[in-house]
């Protein structure tokens, strides 16, 4: 029982990341009809927003180390600490949550620029060409990041107050062995909040209504005198922000490196396909589902029966789903079924 609960929880935070990326992918595919292989790169850029903010906040100067008296020793001390004292230290500690504020406008800009500059010209081209050009873009983005930040993962810790583990076992009366890192819990709640926000935005605002209408029948909405393309561009920006936020918050869980986007992209595509192309709910559900499946498959008991299953479970599920239910778990009838 403990183990099962723990595996579900472990799966949920990874599932949260999958769901957020897959949500953006599906939004873009549903509105613009574009298969965006560069979406993983947006996730990666988000994570590197956190890294950048951390680097900026910890810009340091050399000061004399007072604690060593035998000789002149120097240590690096961030300007923020020098200027603001303890408050500065706190700011540095909270660099990841702070970087959310920075990441949102930046990712929105990147998304808009990407759509206007490149994706727009590929509406009419084949899916193969869309895949290829965005694949190229993903390589370019990741190489740029690599040349700035190097090839090694850069640890960016969560704020000290939430760096420990939550004794959820005690809370739920399951014994003390069940603990769960606070930050993962926060990530889970955060991804839930973002998903809720996106859905609420689409469901309860006029803008969202137009977007949903456009997803169903773009032509008619256009004929009604609404500039659909303009709205869809903004949707692309929103998808970029969602991917970026997923990346920022994921940085403390997985130290960002330049190819994390690619790793997540392949999985997220699988998630989208399993959930059903163009179905937002399906993408979210499949994201969490596959996350949990993966964490169950990596239990030692399961691995003892089928060795290596944790490495391939997601792909295996995807293959089966595509073959027996081509429109995915919750895909609409007639959308991309061939």
């Amino acid at each position: 029982m403990d183990a099962i609960l723990l595996q579900i929880l472990n799966g949920l935070d990874k599932g949260g990341a999958y769901a957020l990326i897959a949500l953006g992918l599906t939004l873009v595919f549903g509105t613009l009809g574009v298969v965006n292989f560069a979406h993983g790169a947006l996730f990666m850029l988000g994570a590197f927003c956190a890294v950048t903010v951390q680097k900026i906040l910890t810009i340091s100067m050399k000061v004399k180390d007072e604690s060593i008296t035998f000789f002149d020793a120097y240590k690096e001390q961030p300007y923020l600490e020098i200027w603001f004292g303890d408050f500065g230290t706190a700011i540095i500690d909270w660099s990841v949550p702070i970087s959310i504020l920075l990441a949102m406008p930046i990712m929105l800009l990147i998304g808009l620029a990407m759509e206007r500059g490149l994706i727009r010209h590929f509406y009419k081209r084949s899916h193969a060409e869309q895949i290829l050009v965005t694949f190229g873009l993903a390589i370019v983005l990741q190489e740029i990041v690599k040349s700035f930040f190097g090839a090694n993962p850069i640890p960016s810790p969560a704020p000290g107050i939430v760096s420990g583990s939550a004794p959820i076992g005690v809370l739920l009366g399951l014994g003390e062995s069940v603990v769960y890192p606070w930050w993962r819990m926060i990530y889970l709640l955060f991804s839930g909040a973002v998903i809720f926000a996106v859905f609420a935005f689409l469901q309860f605002t006029t803008f969202g209504m137009v977007v949903r209408a456009g997803m169903h029948d773009r032509e008619t909405v256009g004929l009604l005198g609404i500039d659909v393309e303009h709205r869809f561009t903004i949707v692309f920006g929103i998808a970029a922000v969602v991917a970026g936020l997923a990346g920022v918050m994921y940085a403390p869980i997985l130290p960002p490196d330049y190819h994390m986007g690619m790793d997540f992209l392949v999985l997220s595509f699988v998630v989208v396909v399993v959930g059903g192309m163009g179905s937002l709910g399906g993408a979210v559900a499949a994201g969490f589902l596959l996350g949990i499946l993966q964490s169950f498959a990596s239990m030692n008991e399961v691995k003892a029966i089928i060795p290596g299953i944790d490495q391939i479970i997601i792909y295996l599920v995807a293959v089966i789903i595509i073959l027996v239910r081509p429109r995915g778990l919750m895909g609409r009838k007639g959308v991309m079924e061939d």
């Binding site: 290829l132 050009v133 190229g136 370019v140 490495q311 792909y315």
Partner: protein, 378 residues
Amino acid sequence: MIVPSIRNDWVIMAIFTAVVLTAPLWLTPVGAGYPDLLQKFAIFGIFAIGFNILFGLTGYLSFGHAVFLGVGSYTAVWSFKLLTMNVLPAVIFATLLAGVFAVVIGYVSLRRSGIYFSILTLAFAQMSYNMAYSVLTPITNGETGLQLTMNDPRILDGPAGQGLPSTTLFGLDMSGYAGFYFCAVMLIIAFFISLRIFRSPFGLKLLAIKSNQTRMKYTGFNTRPYLLTAFVISGMYAGLAGSLMAITDPLAGAERMQWTASGEVVLMTILGGTGTLLGPLFGAGIIKYFENIFSAMNDGRLHEIFSFLPDWLENIVVAITGEFVGDGWHLTLGLLFMIVVIFLPGGVVEGIRRANGFLRRLVQSSGTNTATLAAEKE
């Protein structure tokens, strides 16, 4: 197809053979006339030609072709370890086993088309890659990569004497130019088969599937056997290329199966010209040539190249171009990828064709101008 006046396949083959076999001569002036690089040209040429049979003719974009490359390499190395250092069994086994893999993967993946096909092949590729790293370590030797050791059985050759043996063709050492010529012969055979496929009714059927699969089905063709055949052939090409990689350097690693490797062959095909005979070869050659030059460059070399500029400008230029060479080669590759897809979807071959047409118009324009003027007057 290549040059309009030459229609005869045998003439094409003769020219192609001559060009490939003399490659060491005419590639020396551009600094590519040494066996290592020439082998790469030939190997990736085979890989891209095979990929083109699938993608170019049927339009099915596979993102998992590197699996067959990896399978080919592993099989070849195992053949060296267990049987003999002779390369022929290695090539045959590798090609056949890659074919078997292609049958399995193709049978499943080809039940869907379009983006689903791409994702299915990608999923299989990732599965194979992950398994090669984890569960299949006894076969693949995991991260270290599979390599020859002193105590391999080598049933036909007997145990190794002094040092690790090298790959041979009936005693002929497969290093240096001998290795290249072996690859070159394979390339010529591969090209010949591809040429025959392009010209055959089978090839035409594949093209018809690309242009309109529904129409093909309505006319009473079951398209799937044709697609599967194309898939298996192109998988076998990849297996052959993989075995040749193992022959020139008896080592196989899982990174050969990663999906970036699959992406590379897609790029080669597109860069050269999808669906053309020679395009993929051009693409493979161009990419491997520039990879070789660019990734070997460093800032010192760049300073030499741009030394004719004034000092301040030289530093700026070197700082900018420095991002694109050496480790930054992949950046160049990605940019190239985008530029080709955006501006020249037909690849180099289409570029040549356009330039050709432009020149022809330029030459004719003076003559036609007067003619049209005369016609207008009447």
